[in-house]
């Protein structure tokens, strides 16, 4: 009993000493990209646990809202799921992670590569048989993601498509379901987060990641920004960040949150 009380008191003391580094009761507001938001929310939860008394408020509204709010001071930190444009140089980006998706086909599919135009034709239903893109004479099963997923958003953005342009045969939720669907149907094509696909391919699941514009789909190429179907996930601030914002950004870029980044199927910047 006494030991428990002692632990409780020392626990409280440590907690208070940590939080006293940054003013008690402060609030940090993050707004912007709905892709970054779920990750930022997880990071914020862990940050709050380490710094009691601090509240981190995460709101979505798209990357442009992140830019706007950071500029106007409506948010301490903006969340932006792309690299900053030249006209946004008044803001400082801090890259937290990379997001990359790879096109996957069944392992038995002889097609070794597809151009962007071919992928667009397949997904819009203009091409419906593999023989038209150098494969065998078999129908193509187009696997698409459900609305609202960041992988869908990145895919649509890269190929300049609208979701209603896509003629899907199967719509899936998470990456695992996509991999199971493609590995169970030799005529199918889909896209999933590269990290998941690379892991499954290495562990014998009958799928193959296709290169894009000659760049192999690997986690390393996503990390380096070489892979075309990838993007930066940034936290942006205007001018010098406040001590609290600075502490949060440091934490978000540290190794302490790599497990959170990987849990969202994103790629941390430094390799383990």
């Amino acid at each position: 009993m006494k030991i428990k009380l002692f632990l409780l008191i020392t626990g409280f003391l440590t907690v208070f000493s940590v939080s006293s580094a940054i003013a008690e009761g402060s609030k940090l507001v993050l707004t912007g990209s709905s892709t970054v938001a779920p990750l930022a929310l997880e990071i914020a939860k862990r940050f709050e646990k380490g710094n009691p008394g601090i509240r981190v408020d995460v709101q979505t509204g798209g990357s442009s809202r992140g830019i706007n709010d950071a500029r106007k001071g409506l948010a301490d930190i903006g969340m932006v799921s792309r690299a900053l444009k030249p006209e946004e140089s008044d803001l400082t980006p801090y890259t937290v992670a990379m997001d990359g998706i790879g096109i996957i086909v069944h392992k038995s599919n002889p097609v070794q590569k597809l151009s962007d135009e071919q992928i667009i034709s397949i997904y819009t239903g203009a091409v419906e048989n593999w023989k038209e893109v150098g494969g065998t004479d078999s129908p193509i099963t187009v696997v698409n993601k459900a609305e609202g997923r960041s992988t869908l958003e990145l895919f649509l953005h890269h190929f300049s498509l609208k979701n209603s342009d896509i003629k899907a045969d199967v719509v899936i939720g998470d990456n695992q379901q996509g991999i199971k669907t493609v590995s169970g149907n030799p005529g199918s094509i889909g896209y999933v987060s590269i990290g998941t696909a690379e892991y499954e391919e290495r562990h014998g699941t009958p799928i193959r990641l296709l290169p894009m514009e000659g760049v192999p789909a690997t986690v390393d190429n996503v990390r380096d920004g070489k892979f075309p179907l990838s993007r930066q996930l940034n936290l942006v601030v205007k001018g010098t960040p406040s001590p609290l914002a600075n502490a949060f950004i440091d934490f978000a870029q540290s190794k302490d949150v790599h497990d959170l980044i990987e849990a969202q199927f994103f790629v941390p910047l430094e390799s383990e």
Binding site: T141, A146, E147, D169, V171, I172, T181, N185, G187
Partner: protein, 299 residues
């Protein structure tokens, strides 16, 4: 019925301060809490889907066949049809098998076989739906894809659902057949009716209400099933115009998109949940009515 209720109440009164009173008070609080919880769930659904009623209105669900929430298109109708098609198809498949199994066990099977059948049905009822879904996705869907790609289809969903509701139909039918008063069957036998005649014209009519109640419960389960359907149905929002067409059920739609939905999109998912809850309530109420009727008949 009335008599027994009366004597129960009078016993309660006599024992108000005794153990019975305490237990009864305790139980009524627990029962009240579960009822309150159900009420709160419905209230929550109404509150979360309120933006739909105040801003968009029901007509936005009924206008058009397209479901692209990010582009402002909220056509729910194809998914309602898909859910109903899955439910109907699976019931059509499961009822003959379930009923036949129950009749076999009740009237024909040797005791060993009857026991084995009951155990198998109980096991089948206990398998988690995600396991059915995984089996469907890795075995059934590729088999259907051989006949006609993509394989993920209304047919796959119907087959999986039929397998899932089969134990519900079989076990409730069996219970209904078991509950037929002995004297009714003895009477049939005394009239020198054949076995077939006894089953078709005496046993099944006598157990009818219980069997129908079981079927309604199975329908509610088929309609509410999410995970297995999500994994095998293909989830493309379109009217179910062919058995091989991939379709999306209302439940699958909620599971697929809820985690990433905001604003009106989120509210419309809650509204479809409210609708589903309403239909399942209706089915359960009908099933309850049917089983009540069955009870009166046997008394």
């Amino acid at each position: 019925m009335i008599l027994s209720k009366h004597s129960f109440l009078s016993r309660l009164k006599a024992n108000r301060h005794g153990t019975d009173g305490i237990v009864s008070a305790f139980l009524s609080v627990l029962a009240g809490l579960s009822a309150l919880l159900l009420f709160l769930v419905v209230l929550f659904l109404v509150r979360e889907s309120w933006p739909v009623f105040s801003r968009g209105g029901w007509h936005m669900f009924l206008s058009g066949q397209d479901w692209y929430p990010l582009e402002g298109k909220f056509g729910l109708v194809p998914m309602v049809f898909a859910s109903l098609a899955m439910m109907t198809g699976s019931v059509i498949l499961a009822v003959p098998f379930g009923l036949a199994g129950a009749i076999f066990v009740r009237f024909y099977a040797p005791p060993v076989l009857a026991r084995a059948y009951k155990i198998v049905m109980a096991l089948l009822a206990g398998i988690p739906s995600v396991v059915f879904g995984l089996w469907g996705l890795t075995i059934l869907v590729p088999m259907i894809a051989h006949i006609q790609p993509p394989g993920s289809s209304l047919l796959a969903a119907i087959l999986i659902l039929a397998l899932m509701i089969l134990p519900t139909v079989a076990l409730t039918s069996l219970a209904a057949l078991d509950a037929i008063p002995r004297n009714i069957l003895d009477g049939a036998q005394a009239l020198a009716m054949s076995r077939k005649g006894q089953i078709l014209f005496v046993a099944i009519p006598a157990a009818r209400a219980g069997i129908i109640g079981g079927i309604l419960l199975a329908m509610a389960r088929a309609l509410g099933e999410t995970m297995a359907v999500l994994m095998v149905a293909g989830n493309v929002v379109q009217n179910p115009d062919s058995l091989f067409a991939p379709v999306r059920a209302l439940t699958a739609n909620i599971a697929l998109e809820m985690a990433y939905a905001t604003d009106l999109h989120r509210a419309s998912l809650f509204a479809s949940g409210l609708f589903l809850t309403g239909v399942v309530f209706l089915l359960s109420w009908l099933a309850f009515q049917a089983s009540e009727r069955a009870r009166y008949r046997s008394l």
